[in-house]
């Protein structure tokens, strides 16, 4: 294996391949950092270009794009509270407040370092234990998926600032909006009001950037701030990565847990990096000794989000490399990129195409390092974005959001959807409804519904196995415990507050 890995590195250490990786990372970072443009899009655009390259070089470029695209999202998330990609939703929760406190440099430092470490941990897992991990992922059928989505939905309570009722309403609205369009399985159109455009439902991207970015921009635009000042953010202080060694080590367990969750969720085809960061964040908050500080700008939140989303990359590649099964849209395209060269990943991929497999591993590691270097060098530049007057910056972002919404599927309808979700996001902010539960509901609702229906087909309409299958049962118990514990805590808090 070591020899294979060395061979992999030497195949990547050609000037051409290195250039491809570095270009890929740079382009990925740009795509990731612009709200509306995502890693998926970067890969989709470059996929046809790789058809003319040899498979190793093609993969080098695509891996660079993938890593860059997922990582770039942290920049606008921290600076502007706009998640650049679904993977960085929860980086806004603590990253932005940190930037507001003048700790943008520290937030970035944490985000880069832990993105890098999360990525490296998951790549190590990918190289060393792909086959057993993939075997484990195979044990997740519809019944298990249903249980895991139900568990993830219980985390909504942790994501609701203040009112849990508002959080649940927000999640329900997210689930309902995701139901518009063709039903899973029978593709029967519902809630479309006879509008053909709604048959395909709402895409995640317009919903995400609408709710988070456009809503926020509308909200800022009504504030009576002087447009010509540089905003009210204090200038960030910066020194090294902005955090001390003891701060670094105090995040050890948080990092490990979040990365492992990232790998674990990444492995499961269909759930992927968009949810990994939210789930890892909510778990970090639940397990913390000071959950009330989450959302006010503490390192723990940034670390949880950024280590889990990069760890999800390695996770998502596990079923692709070990079984030839893509876990999300990006890996589906990577698969396409291999297939067009006549390489069909499957159980024999490791033995038949050793050079390509280890070339991919090497490319991933190099891309991770390149990502880290780019971000570290760019840190001062990114922070400068804050000094661009908002009346110039935000309109540009708004237009980019529209471009991104359109470009994903080349449909004008998606821009209207973006506008709709933007207004919705604005109303959420006005009514102090938390947005994260809505997006979690939007992502998980359809997965839950589809797997419930598939599971019922398998069990011939019997719900009992949903509760008794061992893996599913474990998730139900965790879900139940987390709800009960939360209720218990709230009850005690209220009691002690009432007492004083």
């Amino acid at each position: 294996m070591a020899a294979d890995l060395i061979a992999g590195f030497s195949s990547m250490f050609t000037p051409y391949n290195m250039l491809l990786i570095v270009t890929g990372v740079a382009m990925g970072l740009v795509f990731g950092s612009i709200p509306g443009l995502t890693a998926t899009m970067a890969v989709a655009i470059c996929l046809p270009i790789t058809f003319t390259m040899d498979p190793g070089s093609g993969m080098a470029l695509l891996m660079g794009l993938y890593i860059g695209g997922v990582s770039g999202g942290l920049i606008p998330a921290i600076l502007l509270k706009l998640p650049g990609t679904p993977s960085s939703i929860s980086s806004t929760f603590d990253g932005y407040p940190m930037a507001q406190k003048g700790e943008a440099g520290k937030a970035f430092g944490l985000a880069f370092v832990f993105s890098f470490l999360g990525g490296i941990l998951s790549i190590t897992a990918l190289i060393l234990i792909s086959p057993p991990l993939a075997e484990f992922a195979l044990r997740f059928g519809p019944i298990e998926y249903f249980a895991i989505t139900m568990f993830a939905l219980t985390l909504i309570s942790s994501l609701s600032e203040g009112s849990i009722v508002k959080g649940m309403l927000s999640a329900l609205l997210g689930i309902s909006l995701a139901m518009v369009g063709s039903a899973p399985i029978d593709s029967f159109p519902r809630f479309t009001f006879g509008m053909g455009q709604l048959d395909a439902g709402f895409n995640l991207l317009p919903a995400l950037i609408g709710l988070f970015a456009v809503g926020e921009i509308l909200n800022i635009s009504e504030r009576k701030i002087s447009p010509l000042t540089k905003g009210n953010t204090p200038p960030p202080k910066m020194k090294g990565f902005g955090f001390s060694l003891s701060e670094f080590f105090s995040q050890g367990w948080n990092y490990l847990r979040s990365s492992l969750m990232g790998v674990g969720i990444g492995i499961l085809p269909g759930i992927g990096g968009g949810t990994a960061n939210i789930i890892a964040y909510a778990t970090a908050k639940n397990q913390s000794r000071y959950p009330e500080k989450f959302g006010t700008g503490i390192p723990d939140g940034v670390v949880a989000s950024e280590s889990s989303n990069n760890a999800a990359i390695g996770g998502a590649l596990v079923p692709l490399m070990a079984l030839g099964i893509p876990g999300d849209t990006v890996t589906a395209m990577l698969l396409g990129g291999l297939v067009i060269h006549g390489i069909q990943p499957g159980p024999l991929f490791f033995t038949n195409d050793t050079d390509i497999v280890y070339g991919i591993f090497a490319a991933l590691i190099i891309a991770n390092i390149a990502m880290f270097l780019f971000l570290s060098m760019g840190i001062r530049l990114f922070v400068k974005i804050l000094s661009i007057p908002k009346h110039i910056l935000l309109p540009i972002i708004l237009v980019l959001c529209a471009v991104g919404a359109f470009a994903e599927n080349n449909r004008l309808f998606d821009i209207w959807a973006l506008l709709f979700f933007g207004i919705l996001g604005y109303l959420f902010l006005k009514g102090k409804f938390p947005i994260a539960p809505a997006i979690l509901g939007f992502i998980l609702g359809p997965i839950a519904e589809e797997n419930l229906r598939r599971g019922l087909q398998l069990t011939q309409e019997n719900f009992w196995p949903f509760l008794t299958e061992p893996i599913a049962a474990v998730f139900w118990i965790i879900a139940l415990l987390s709800v009960v514990l939360k209720g218990w805590k709230n009850y005690h808090q209220k009691k002690s507050l009432g007492g004083t």
């Binding site: 989709a44 996929l47 046809p48 058809f51 195979l138 044990r139 997740f140 059928g141 369009g181 399985i185 593709s187 159109p189 053909g196 048959d199 395909a200 439902g201 635009s221 701030i225 002087s226 447009p227 010509l228 085809p269 079984l323 030839g324 099964i325 893509p326 849209t329 589906a332 395209m333 990577l334 698969l335 396409g336 990129g337 297939v339 067009i340 006549g342 069909q344 499957g346 159980p347 991929f349 038949n352 009346h391 110039i392 935000l394 309109p395 708004l398 237009v399 529209a402 471009v403 359109f406 599927n409 080349n410 449909r411 004008l412 821009i415 229906r453 598939r454 087909q457 398998l458 011939q460």
Partner: protein, 347 residues
């Protein structure tokens, strides 16, 4: 005053966004106009047609694939477009427009300008969409340019450890345990129709369960959640080689060159035969000469370009060319056949 300036920029931004939408929406806006003022559109079309007589194509052609990048529809399309570019002398830009079983993408072409610069590349899914009522138009409502690929590798797969070694074993089990054998499909897809046809032919009843697209079905089989998976044999070549999966047969007329040891369904006594059709279609009313120019370029690549033929054979599908008329007839026949299978299963 300062606030006004702020507002001014917001208005500017919105204006920018609308300008962008209008720019991109040019096509769509004209489409809706086209249906209300058809006569007007037609007159400009005939003018276009005359002007286009020998000059088509002058600019790049957009190819709409109503399926995701990296899938087999996308793969087959891109393999052909690479070589078509050489024949037509312009770029062919593939756009993936996913959604509602492919009907989002095909509707887009149905309503596009019939100028020959937007073309649909799709497969049997379009026939089945009509069957299930997902669309209210037929493939022959388009100007079909032809068929480029026939996929004859439609196969039934079981786990390597399965007790089934032939189609007969499987049918026998289903006879003894009606409604018990879990067979995966994507509801309303091509494989669903294959299952309905086999149920009818063998007089058995499976437990047909939805497991999603090609890779989801493979996952379900490997994970042991289902017993049988119908899918394209080329996608699981490695699994067959490694012994983790067995093929119970292919629904082709003859055995496949690439898998000579796999028998056909017909050989095993079940008259079930399906070829997946990959066709190309222009919006209705596209001038005949444009359709023909495109179709002739297709013919040259599919029948003469050895490089293309080799590539496409590597995907375990066959390069087959049918021109506009032949293809339309073939599609109409297939549509009728599918209709019958579907109606029989409904009873």
């Amino acid at each position: 005053m300062k606030v006004n300036k702020w507002r001014f920029f917001m208005v500017l931004a919105v204006a920018g966004m609308i300008a962008f939408m209008a720019g991109c929406g040019g096509d769509t806006a004209e489409d809706t106009g086209g249906s209300s003022a058809e006569s007007e559109d037609n007159s400009t079309d005939s003018e276009d047609a005359e002007a286009n007589d020998s000059s088509y194509p002058e600019e790049s052609i957009e190819v709409v694939v109503p399926a995701g990048a990296g899938g087999d529809t996308d793969r087959n399309t891109r393999t052909l477009t690479q070589h078509l570019e050489g024949e037509l002398g312009v770029d062919l830009v593939v756009q993936n427009v996913e959604g509602s079983g492919g009907s989002t993408g095909s509707s887009e072409i149905l309503n596009a300008d019939p100028d020959g610069y937007r073309v649909l590349a799709y497969h049997d899914g379009a026939l089945i969409n009509k069957l299930l009522g997902l669309t209210d138009y037929e493939v022959n409502d388009f100007e079909v340019a032809g068929i480029s690929v026939l996929d004859q590798g439609n196969s039934f797969l079981v786990s390597g450890e399965s007790e089934f070694n032939s189609l007969e074993d499987m049918v026998k089990y289903a006879e003894e345990n009606p409604g018990e054998l879990a067979v995966a499909t994507e509801t309303g897809s091509f494989t669903h129709l294959q299952l309905l046809a086999l149920q009818e032919e063998a007089g058995v009843e499976f437990n047909i369960v939805d497991a999603g697209g090609a890779s989801d079905k493979i996952t379900a089989l490997l994970g042991g959640q289902v017993d049988v998976v119908p899918t394209q044999i080329g996608l699981v070549g490695e699994y067959i080689e490694s012994g983790e999966m067995k093929s119970l047969g292919v629904m082709a007329e003859e055995r496949l060159e690439q898998f000579p040891e796999v028998p056909t369904f017909t050989e095993q006594g079940y008259d079930v035969q399906f070829d997946k059709i990959f066709f190309w279609a222009f919006p209705p009313e596209t001038p005949e000469n444009i359709v023909n120019t495109f179709s002739e370029a297709m013919e040259t690549v599919v029948t003469e370009n050895e490089e293309y033929r080799e590539e496409i054979n590597g995907h375990v599908v066959s390069p087959e060319y049918m021109g506009p008329e032949e293809a339309s007839e073939f599609i109409a026949e297939t549509q009728k056949r599918y209709q019958e299978i579907y109606e029989n299963s409904e009873q």
